[in-house]
């Protein structure tokens, strides 16, 4: 719907793969459903702390919360979508996005939000109060939904998988292939076979040792496997990646290990994950990208069950959830073996179903926004008389211009036809001239040939007469006299004898 204005608010300024991915996917998906939609992105720091992963369009900073600032951000919007945030964060704009002074009370949506821990009573009270002004709520996992319900929120709370499952759609295969070429050129991705990609996570640093031992064990069996240690940019990830890389180097010196540094863009991470033979990491957005791309994966859940929506519905043929460190090696082997038989990028049935679930929720969100936009259009009133007059005038000009342009085209065709005819006439005239010149040439040749023939006959006659003359007695008998005369004149050599 042309002209929809959507406020997209969240922690998009956090330089991590998952947080940076949310606005990119939502913008793409909503824009596809609401063509011409305009987005106003806002985040706690936004453009005050731009990051290379902000897609080149950093969000607007919230600034300190005040009724005026909240109204300023909300005014003119058809809907505010607060996406992917933890509602326990101290950011007030997530709970009171419109403020009391907003001119138009546009709908507010909590999309894929989480509640990181059981809220204290006063926090629960704040959540309840905030939810009263929210038109649609979805949580990213079942634990968050439970906490919201336990806080006394009466509305329906849907559980919607993380939009990371749509990342393979955001980055087209051609673009992913190009980015992989770049990663290879930079030495950040193996040149040949698809590697096993391991997400180094700060939260899993304590498991570096068993992970390194497990990988070394795998490499004992499958020395051809290459390993990529990916650092996705969250705080502490680099230290974890360093530790894992060092440990691998010391545990299995011949290992083919590559580092994917935190510098890479979202599309690079997506490309690397979508083309890996197997993914190993915690249940985060990266794991969901691997899940959506149908990559075999080992989910490291040593500290509890997977919390991210989508992962509970895993296909056991491609996903192995590890709860005990000693199980890692076996799962790695299974994942690598499964990866050898899978075409990169193919999303099998379960994953496609999860993506469809997100699509359905997005369709619902788009309908809500479109409806709000229609309401706003009505509230703002019908076009004024002056506007109608302008539109009428513009329409009239377009009609005149269309007619004139059609006339011009007709004239152009006529002029080009004339030029063509003129050229054709010239060609015909030149052709006739050529025919005439050929005829003239033929005549000249005939004349010259006949002339040459008569000349030749005349010559033959003269030569014949000369022969007859030479054969007369007079010439024979006077030969000696003529010879002597010739010698006297120096005209003839003496006889040879």
């Amino acid at each position: 719907m042309k002209g929809c204005r959507i406020g997209l608010w969240g922690a998009f300024d956090v330089d991590s793969f998952g947080d940076a991915l949310v606005p990119q996917v939502l913008r793409r998906e909503l824009a596809a459903r609401l063509p011409g939609a305009e987005f106003r992105l806002a985040a706690p720091f936004g453009s005050l702390r731009p990051t290379p992963r902000d897609g080149g369009e950093p969000a607007e900073p919230f600034g300190p919360w005040s009724p005026e600032r909240a109204a300023e951000l909300a005014n003119g919007l058809d809907c505010i979508v607060i996406a992917g945030v933890d509602l326990l964060s101290p950011e007030r704009f997530f709970l009171e996005p419109r403020g009391p002074n907003a001119e138009h009370r546009c709908p507010v949506v909590w999309w894929g939000v989480s509640v990181g821990s059981d809220p204290a009573p006063d926090v629960a009270e704040r959540l309840r109060a905030a939810a009263a002004g929210v038109d649609s709520i979805s949580a990213r996992d079942r634990a968050s939904r439970r906490r919201l319900q336990e806080a006394g929120i009466q509305q329906e709370v849907a559980v919607v998988p993380d939009v990371a499952v749509l990342a393979p759609r955001l980055y087209a295969p051609d673009l992913r292939s190009r980015r992989l070429d770049l990663l290879r050129a930079l030495g950040w991705y193996p040149e040949s076979a698809s590697p096993m990609l391991i997400e180094a996570s700060a939260e899993r640093t304590r498991y570096v040792e068993p992970l390194a031992v497990a990988i070394a064990g795998l490499l004992e069996h499958r020395p051809e496997v290459s390993v990529v240690v990916a650092d996705l940019g969250s705080p502490g990830d680099t230290a974890c990646a360093d530790a894992l890389t060092d440990r691998l180097a010391s545990t299995f010196p011949g290992a083919n290990v590559t580092r994917l540094p935190a510098d890479v863009g979202l599309e690079d991470v997506a490309a690397a994950i979508c083309s890996c033979a197997a993914f190993v990491g915690p249940p985060t957005s990266a794991a969901l990208v691997a899940f959506a791309a149908g990559r075999p994966q080992v989910v490291l859940c040593m500290e509890g069950a997977p919390e991210l929506a989508g992962l509970p519905e895993v296909d056991e043929d491609r996903t192995w959830i590890v709860r005990l460190p000693e199980d890692i090696e076996g799962c790695l082997l299974k994942a690598v073996e499964a990866g050898g038989g899978l075409e990169a990028g193919a999303a099998p049935g379960t994953e496609a179903a999860v993506a469809k679930q997100v699509d359905t929720e997005l369709d619902r969100l788009a309908e809500l926004i479109a409806g709000a936009s229609r309401v706003r259009s009505k509230t703002e009133g019908l076009p004024s008389a002056a506007r109608l007059e302008e539109l009428t005038e513009r329409l009239r000009l377009l009609e005149v211009a269309y007619e004139a342009r059609s006339r011009n085209h007709a004239r152009e065709r006529m002029i080009f036809a004339e030029q063509l005819n003129s050229a054709a006439e010239e060609i015909e005239s030149l052709t006739n001239q050529i025919i005439e010149m050929r005829e003239e040439y033929r005549r000249q040749v005939e004349y010259l040939q006949s002339h040459a023939k008569s000349e030749s006959a005349a010559k033959a006659r003269v030569e014949s007469e000369l022969e007859l003359l030479r054969a007369t007695k007079t010439l024979r008998y006077t030969a000696a006299v003529r010879s002597a005369y010739g010698r006297l004149r120096g005209l003839r050599p003496p006889p040879a004898d």
Partner: protein
């Protein structure tokens, strides 16, 4: 060596420079950047394992992000690597042998700030001796590229008007970071360098983003500063087939550049290939000094404003002294200053869709030339005021498809002299856009909706 002007706050522009040898020019390029850049920027340098002492120079660079690669990964990949570190709204790809001039960056930034349809902006590239190196480029049917104006005077008006272009050299290109990321940066299919900038601009165009040539920005560029002509030719030769395979459909309707060098008329055809509307405004010297002398310039400027995708050319038949050429060029109007109009018009045969004759004597002087070379164009006559007897106005009325009249007397004269020809009052030296577009509609021209919205906003302000 210290690069200053790295703000504590957010840089608006991330300058990405890839170095590969060519130490001789890296220093002057960085010095000029530091000296002539007033816009907040950050500098990211990617060194592709230079064999000379460029790394030592870069090692002493303060206030910049410097990345040292252990091998030459090529220009495109180097730029992509640099952009991974960029946080500016715009990325400026700047060659290490490009020496920027004062005020180089502001016009490029303006071009992107003022028009969301612009994805990239390129400057006027000069040789070191000050002659023109490239007023952006054009692409022929065979994916052959040509730099416009190479070796000619950099001040020639035909190379100094702002316009949308096929591509500009990545020697210096300002591009929206969001757009760069959306197209995936330079395509590594073009190894080492050359043609990847054309590919990038075409990819931007696929997203609806145009590349604009901004001649107010001037950058001196040492060609092949880090390679040689032979190497460059070899790389271009290797990369053109890739370009053709990818964009052949887009280029199919372009003129052929097989003839080397391509004739000027073909370069013009390629330059204006995407301009559906091409308007030629013709004015005459006799108008110089008259109170309505600025009128043709005002008409040309308003048309260009209303149809930014169109090519508007003002043919100034000796009347340049009465025209504010610089304002016209900045407004995107091509100003043609010539001695030999016959040849000039022949080279643009059948090129224009609309011809507007303005000023007394213009019809007498140009009618025959226009009829011979632009017979297909819609014809508008701008009837001068005051009406001068013997100025050929009667013949001009008979020639025209529609008439613009500078006064009510003129309107009465036109209505009486050519009652079948639509005539419109367009009073004064400055033109009223509404009245002008009313008249232009009869030549098939209507302003873009964006222009209408802009005019409305201007009136409100």
């Amino acid at each position: 060596l210290t690069v200053v002007n790295v703000p504590e706050g957010r840089p608006l522009v991330s300058v990405v420079m890839v170095t590969y040898g060519g130490r001789r020019w890296v220093g002057p390029a960085l010095d000029a950047l530091a000296e002539h850049t007033a816009v907040p920027y950050e500098l990211i340098v990617v060194d592709n394992a230079s064999a000379d002492d460029t790394p030592q120079l870069l090692g002493s660079l303060a206030g910049a992000t410097v990345i040292f690669n252990d091998r030459n990964i090529g220009f495109g990949a180097g730029c992509n690597q640099g952009v991974l570190h960029a946080v500016g709204r715009y990325v400026c790809l700047l060659n290490s042998d490009a020496v920027v001039e004062p005020g180089w960056l502001e016009p490029l930034v303006e071009a992107l700030e003022n028009d969301p349809r612009v994805g990239a902006a390129v400057p006027r590239l000069l040789h070191l001796d000050g002659t023109l190196q490239e007023a952006a480029g054009v692409v022929g049917m065979e994916a052959t590229t040509r730099a416009l104006g190479d070796g000619e005077s950099a001040e020639d008006p035909q190379y100094r008007f702002r316009r949308f272009v096929d591509y500009g050299s990545a020697a210096c290109m300002l591009i929206r970071r969001s757009a760069y990321l959306r197209v995936g940066g330079f395509d590594p299919a073009y190894p080492m360098g050359y043609c990847e900038d054309v590919d990038l601009c075409f990819a931007l165009a696929d997203l609806g983003l145009r590349t604009v040539y901004e001649p107010r920005s001037r950058v001196r560029h040492v060609r092949w500063g880090s390679s040689s002509r032979r190497q460059a030719d070899r790389m271009v030769f290797a990369n053109q087939p890739i370009l053709l395979a990818r964009w052949g459909d887009r280029l199919a309707a372009r003129p052929s550049f097989r003839q080397i060098p391509p004739p000027e008329r073909r370069l013009n055809q390629a330059r204006d290939a995407d301009c559906v509307d091409r308007i030629l405004v013709v004015t005459e010297a006799a108008w110089a000094g008259s109170p309505v002398a600025p009128r043709p310039a005002a008409i040309a400027t308003e048309i260009q404003r209303g149809l930014p995708e169109a090519r508007v050319t003002l043919l100034a038949g000796g009347a340049t002294s009465s025209l504010e050429i610089e304002a016209l060029l900045e407004g995107g109007v091509e100003v043609a200053v010539q001695d030999d109009w016959s040849t000039w018009l022949q080279r643009r045969r059948f090129h224009y869709s609309v011809v507007i004759l303005t000023g007394p004597g213009s019809h007498q002087r140009f009618e025959a030339l226009l009829s011979a070379n632009q017979p297909q164009a819609a014809r508008i006559y701008d009837l001068p005021d005051p009406l001068q007897p013997g100025a050929g106005n009667e013949a001009a009325l008979a020639w025209a498809d529609s008439v613009l009249c500078a006064s009510p007397d003129g309107l009465a004269f036109a209505s009486a002299g050519a009652p079948q020809t639509p005539a419109f009052l367009l009073a004064g030296p400055s033109v009223d856009p509404t009245a002008l577009w009313r008249g232009l509609a009869h030549a098939g021209l209507a302003p873009s909706p964006e222009h209408r919205a802009g005019s409305q906003a201007g009136r409100t302000a």
